[in-house]
Symmetry: D2
Subunit: 263 residues, 4 copies
C-alpha cells in the first residue's frame, strides 16, 4: 500500500506538503500509520505543473527518505497543482517507469491499491489500452495500465465518465472469477487545471483518503500530514472529490451510486 498527496491551489513550493509537515509524505515513507505496509521504500515520484501544458516529473528507485535530490527539488520547485507518491510495491519491479506518478500528454495519474491478482489479470487489463496509448506504456504496473485505459476510454474529454467506465469494467473482471479478487483504487488524476481524486474498492475495503481545504486550496492525502485530525476530512468510500479551477471542491458518489442508478 503506497502513500500519496495531491495539491491544487495557489502556487506554493512542493516542500510545504512533501517534506515540511510533522507527518510529511517523506516521513510516511519511513513509517506510515494507516497502512498495512509500514514502510514505503520502493521508490517515489513527484509530478508538477508549471508553465507548460505537460507536467514535470522526477522519479527514483531509492527510498524518498534518503534522497537528497528530493529535498532540493521540493524546496526549489513551485506549483499550483502537484502530486507526490511513495511506493510500496505489490509485486512489480522497483524501476523508475514503475514509480508514480505516470504522465501522458497533459495528464498525470497516481494510485494506491491493486487490481486483483495482477499476474493473472494483467493481459486482460492491458487489452483495455487502445493502440494509440499502448506506446506510452513504459512500465509494467497495474496502475499505469489503468491510467492508459482511462485515457483510452476518452479520459481527455470526459475524465470522470472514462474512469467510471474503466473501473466498472475492472470490477466485472475481478468479480468474474469465482475467487472474487480484490480491486482497490484510491487514485488522483489531473490535467494541469483540474484535480480528481477517487476512493473506491470492490471485494475489499477502500484504502483511506482524506482532504483538507482552506481559502480555495485543497490537499488530498492517503493519511493526515499532522495530528490536527479535525482539519482532515475523510473522502467516504465509493466517492470522488473534484477540485476544478475556480470551482469549490465537491464530493460525489463514485461508481456504486451510478451502478445502482443504472440497475
Amino acid at each position: 500500500m503506497c502513500r500519496w498527496i495531491a495539491y491544487r491551489g495557489e502556487t506554493i513550493p512542493l516542500e510545504q506538503y512533501v517534506t515540511a509537515p510533522a507527518h510529511s509524505l517523506v516521513v510516511q515513507s519511513v513509517k506510515a500509520l494507516e497502512s498495512t505496509a509500514s514502510t514505503n521504500g520502493d521508490g517515489f515520484g513527484l509530478g508538477w505543473y508549471g508553465e507548460h501544458p505537460e507536467p514535470g516529473l522526477y522519479r527514483e528507485v531509492r527510498p524518498a527518505w534518503s534522497d537528497e535530490n528530493l529535498r532540493y527539488l521540493c524546496r526549489h520547485i513551485h506549483s499550483h497543482l502537484y502530486f507526490a507518491h511513495v511506493r510500496a510495491s505489490t509485486g512489480t519491479p522497483v524501476t523508475r517507469p514503475n514509480c508514480h506518478p505516470f504522465v501522458c500528454g497533459r495528464w498525470m495519474f497516481m494510485h494506491n491499491g491493486l487490481v486483483g491478482n495482477w499476474t493473472r489479470m494483467r493481459r486482460q487489463v492491458e487489452s483495455l489500452i487502445p493502440d494509440e496509448y499502448y506506446g506510452s506504456r513504459v512500465g509494467t504496473t497495474d496502475s499505469e495500465a489503468v491510467f492508459l485505459a482511462i485515457l483510452g476510454a476518452g479520459g481527455d474529454k470526459d475524465p470522470v465518465g472514462a474512469t467510471i467506465k474503466v473501473l466498472s469494467t475492472l470490477t466485472e473482471m475481478v468479480s468474474a472469477s469465482g475467487s472474487r479478487e480484490p480491486l482497490r483504487f484510491t487514485a488522483a488524476l489531473a490535467n494541469g487545471r483540474d484535480l480528481y481524486a477517487f476512493r473506491y474498492a470492490a471485494n475489499d475495503n477502500a484504502n483511506t483518503l482524506y482532504y483538507r481545504e482552506s481559502a480555495g486550496n485543497v490537499v488530498v492525502v492517503s493519511e493526515p500530514l499532522d495530528s490536527e485530525h479535525a482539519h482532515w476530512k475523510p473522502v467516504p468510500p465509493g466517492h470522488m472529490l473534484t477540485a476544478r479551477e475556480s470551482k469549490p471542491v465537491s464530493l460525489a458518489p463514485f461508481l456504486d451510486a451510478q451502478r445502482v442508478a443504472a440497475e
Copy 2:
C-alpha cells in the same frame, strides 16, 4: 547496438572474458569498434550457471565500466556456461528488467538487435507469448518478448525449432508492412548444458558475430576480444552456432535455408 559474449566449456572465472582481455566486454562498453553505437553504457548484465538448474543473474543500470561490483563478481564467480552483455538502448527505458540476459526457469537469453519499429510492433510480438509465460515478462524490451515467445513456441523441448518458428513469424510481421522494417537478431540461448547462438537479419544486414574454439571450449562474441583476429572466426549471416555438451561446435544455416527448403 549492444555487445555481448557467451562462453561454454570448462569452468573458469567470469573475468577471463568479461574484464581481463585487452578489448574485453567492459572495454567495449566504453568503446566498441564494430558497432554503430560506440558507447554501450545503458546498463549491463551477467548470467551464469552453477550448481542449480536455473542461472544466477546480476543486472545493473549503471555503465559496466564504473561498476566495482562487476569486477568483484567476475573475479569470484566461476562457471562452465555464462553470458555477459553491455547495453545500448534502442529506445526502451534503462531499467534492470530491461537489461540482458533474461532468465526463465533454466533458460537464459540475450540479444543484440531490434524488431522493426518496436512501438508499432510491440503488441503483435507480445501476442506471441502464451499466457503461461506472460507472467515472466518483467520488462518492456523487444528482446525479452522474443525470448518468451520462443519458450512459448516450445523452446524448452526444441530450442532451435522454436527459434526458427518465432523468427520466421517476426520476419513476416516486419515485412508485412510496406515499409519493410529491419529485424536484426544476433542472440544467444542456453539451458545450463547447451549453448545456441544466432546471427540473422531481415530487411537489413546482420550484426557481427564471431567465435573462438579451443580444447572444447567456445566463446562467442559480438566483436573480437583481442587483436589476434586470426583466432576469431565469423559466424556467417543467416547461420547459427551450436555448442552442445560433449559435442563439437557446429555451424548451420539458420532460417534462410530452411525457408528456401520449404518454398
Copy 3:
C-alpha cells in the same frame, strides 16, 4: 543502527543465513526487532572469501529487500567465511563506498554503531589512519575510518591488539570532551581464515550481539535469525568472540578487562 551477520565454517551458500531464515537479514532490513532503527534501508553489502586471498564484494545503495541481484548472488555464491550487512545511516550519505563491509587487501570489516559526534570527531579519527592506508579510504563513514585505523595500528599482524589500541584511543577521544559522547562498536573483522567479533561501548550501552555454534560452524548476528532463542547466545557487553581456523570459538573480555589489568 545497522544489522549484520558474519559466518565462519564449512562452505555453504550465502542464502543459508542472508535470505532463507524466518527472520533473515533481509527480513531485518524491513523490520528489525532489537534496534532503535526499525528499518535498515540505507543500502547493504555482502563480502565473502573464495579462492582468492582478498574477498569478493557486492554493495548497493538500494534497500536489500527489493534487490533481486542480492537474491541471485546469495543463492549462487558459496563461502566458508562471509559477512552481510544492512545499513541504517547515522548521517553519512547513502553511497556504495559508505556501505559495509569494507575491504583492504585480505581484510574485511563491518560495523554497527557510531563514533561520538562524527562531524566533530571525524578529523581526529581520520588522523589515526597512516598515509599508507589513507588511499584506501574511498568513503566518508566513521566505520571505514576505524577499520583503516586498525590496519594502520598493525591489524594485519595483531588484529586483536590493534583493535584494542584503536578503541582505547577512541574511548579517550569521546570521553575527553565534557559531553562524553557515545562510542558504540559492534563489529566483525576477518582475514579469510579467522573471524573476530566485538561488542563494546563507552558512554552508552553496547549494541546487541548473538552467536550460534554447531559442528564447528559459527554465525554471529545483531539479532537472532529465528525464534529459537535458546540456540542463540549473547556475546556479553565488553567482550569479543574469536573463531580461528581449526580452533574452538572462544569469548574473552574486550578492552574493559585489559584496561583494568593495565591500571
Copy 4:
C-alpha cells in the same frame, strides 16, 4: 576530463543550454569533441539559483544521456544563474556526493581538471580545509576539497583572492615533488549573483574554456554548444572571467600575472 556549462543572465529554462543545442552538454556526455575522455558517463549534476539564497541541486550517478528526470527538470526549472556538469571520473568513485556541482551555503562550484596524483596529494589538500568547513565534505574528490579550501581561505568575502591563494598553494604542492605533477583547474564559482570562471594549469596545458555573451547574458562552456564557432570566444589559459550582477563580463589574468607581479 569532464564537460560543463555555466550561465548567468536573464532567467531562462535550463534546457536552453543543457539539452536543447545541437552539441548540448547532454550530447557531450555521449561524445565530447575537445576532450581526451570522449565519454562523460560517470554521473552528472545540475545546480541553479532561484528564490532562495542557496542553490537547488540535482546529482545522479547514471549517465546524463539516459536520465529522463534530467530532461524534465531542464524543461521545467528556470534560473538566472545555473551550472551543469557531466563527469568523467579521474579515479574517485561514481557516487552522488562526488558529482559536481558542489554547494556550501550560498556558494556553488564545479571543476574540470585534476590536482596532481590525488592519492598522494589528498591529505595535503584536505589539510587546507579549516575545521568549520570540513563537515561540509561529503564526498572524496579533489574538486570538492579545493572548493572547501577556497571557502576556508575567505572565499565568501573575497572569492578571487581566496581562489588565487589556494591555487597558488596547490601549484607549490604539485611542483614541490620532483615529478612536477600536473594541476589543471578549469572551474566555475558562483554565489547567486556573481559568476567566476577560471582557466588555469601548472605543469600541463589548461583544459579548454569558451564563452559567449549577448545582451548581457553569458554562457561559459568547456566546448562550444553549436558549430557557430565564431560566436564562441576562448578564455585564454591563465585567465579568469568575471560576470558580476549589472556589470559587463570581463577577462583578467589569473595567478600567473599576479605571481609575476609579486616576484
